[in-house]
């Protein structure tokens, strides 16, 4: 399913949060932008949790917003960054409750549906653990399980891997990749590496305006001819960092390999840019 956002605008306390923002969301869509860009606001508006001042939202060709709200949110599931719900209940009890609210009252059908979603999020073994006993990553997977019970076609994740340890982050990332096979997914993240791994399309917003929308390779192109690799001595590193935009560094035997973004030619060996380089180059270009 494709989601179209057309001319979305929102002001809060006379401050513009979103300005005539139009996006075409499809596949696994990564929403990037600096803090305060309006990413969470966009996602909450799509999920029907926040109001817009102006604009329209379409699911495929169908208008799903009415007035200042997205109304038909049955097929849209939103998972916030930090959440806690029913901490004293077990995973199974929470999911059972949500299944009943979805209109499933037959206990065997409820158990079957819960089994299926727990299998997907790999929590079958922990079904009788209480929510407050779960780690951050497990709690997020319960969050996904409850969303899947609603059978949404669009899943929205706000900073899904923030604060997770490496192992849990990788597991969560892989889960999102699997879910992307049969859902449209919107992910906002500061971790560009996750976006690079997951997303088939990227939107970059800043101060509520769209800076870029397209394939990851197209974003990387912003840093083409601006990304350089060079080896510097360890003693020069501090001085070098102060003078250049170092995106990545890797310690080698006696030297340090750094990747920088630079407008200067022949400062080092030109290399293929990564998504992070393209994103930073785009932000720099916009700041000029």
């Amino acid at each position: 399913m494709d989601l179209y956002i057309k001319d979305l605008s929102k002001k809060m306390k006379k401050q513009t949060i979103l300005s005539q923002l139009s996006l075409h969301i499809t596949g696994i869509y990564g929403l990037l932008g600096p803090n305060g860009a309006g990413k969470t606001t966009v996602m909450k508006i799509i999920a029907g949790l926040s109001k817009m001042d102006d604009g329209e939202v379409f699911l495929n060709e169908e208008l799903i917003s009415r007035g200042t709200y997205v109304k038909r949110v049955g097929s849209i599931g939103y998972l916030p960054q930090d959440f806690q719900f029913y901490p004293q209940l077990t995973i199974f009890e929470v999911l059972e409750h949500i299944a009943v609210l979805q209109g499933i009252v037959d206990p065997s059908l409820i158990a079957k549906e819960i089994d299926e979603v727990l299998e997907v999020v790999n929590l079958s073994e922990q079904r009788h653990k209480k929510i407050h006993e779960l780690s951050g990553g497990m709690r997020r997977r319960v969050g996904i399980a409850q969303l899947l019970l609603r059978k949404p076609s669009i899943l929205i994740f706000d900073e899904p891997t923030a604060g997770l340890d490496i192992e849990e982050r990788i597991r969560f990332r892989n889960l999102l990749k699997v879910l992307g096979g049969n859902h449209t997914i919107i992910i906002s993240s500061h971790i560009v590496e996750d976006i690079e791994f997951l997303c088939t399309k990227i939107g970059v917003i800043r101060k509520g305006k769209k800076l870029f929308e397209g394939a990851p390779d197209a974003l990387k192109n912003y840093a083409r001819h601006k990304t350089f690799d060079l080896l510097i001595s360890k003693e020069d590193l501090d001085d070098f960092i102060l003078k250049h935009e170092v995106v990545y560094l890797e310690e080698q035997e006696e030297k340090i390999r750094v990747r920088i973004l630079s407008e200067e030619d022949n400062i080092g060996k030109p290399v293929s840019p990564r998504l992070m380089d393209g994103y930073l180059a785009l932000l720099q270009e916009d700041s000029l």
């Binding site: 949790l49 926040s50 959440f83 029913y86």
Partner: protein, 203 residues
């Protein structure tokens, strides 16, 4: 029916002892009314011990929305069952209030008192949840309701000219009585507005 019965069981599982708190208060109201030698006090016991507890179930039900970050997860589900929740607790608490009212001296069974009971019960039923939706904290909300209720009882509705909502001295005929009705109607309208706005805009 299956869904309603399940929802009650779920609330019981979540709220545990607190689920029974209003029922204990209703029972206590009946006991106080029954053993009180002064039938003039029946309506006071009824208002304080029964009516003022009729919003507790709904208040506890909504309180889970205001745990850290829970509202964005739970709101879609609460929206789905909003009418059902109001209806099921409206019926349960309304029925209990009606039963307790039967124990109040028949002297009070007048249209004027019945109208006051209905308005007061609705005010507590919806007003407490509306207050929670503004304050977003169960403990502070309960404290506000308790302080207001206790101050009203302690001063028999005579402390400061703020909106008074209880009846203390029968016959209830003077200007203050009319103001009490006006206060209740205004409170009720505000509560309905706040709850509707919360469900639409989550503010």
């Amino acid at each position: 029916m299956k869904k309603i019965s399940y929802l009650f069981k779920f609330d019981l599982k979540l709220q545990q002892f607190f689920f029974f708190l209003p029922f204990i208060a209703y029972a206590l109201a009946i006991v106080c009314i029954y053993i009180s030698p002064d039938e003039n006090r029946d309506y006071i016991f009824f208002q304080v011990l029964a009516v003022s507890f009729c919003g507790v179930h709904l208040l506890l039900h909504y309180s889970y929305l205001f745990e850290e970050g829970a509202s964005e997860i739970l709101l879609p589900y609460y929206r789905q069952t909003a009418w059902l929740d109001l209806l099921r607790y409206g019926l349960v608490d309304g029925l209990c209030i009606a039963i307790v009212f039967c124990f109040v001296d028949p002297f009070f069974h007048t249209p004027q008192v019945v109208a006051h009971t209905i308005l007061l019960a609705l005010c507590y039923f919806l007003g407490s949840s509306a207050l929670l939706m503004i304050i977003k904290n169960l403990e502070i909300t309960i404290s506000c309701i308790l302080v207001y209720t206790i101050m009203e009882i302690g001063t028999q509705g005579s402390f400061m000219p703020w909106p008074h909502i209880f009846f203390f001295v029968y016959p209830y005929v003077d200007l203050w009585v009319r103001l009490t009705y006006i206060s209740l109607v205004i409170g009720l309208i505000l509560a309905i507005g706040i709850i509707s706005r919360f469900y639409i805009t989550r503010k």
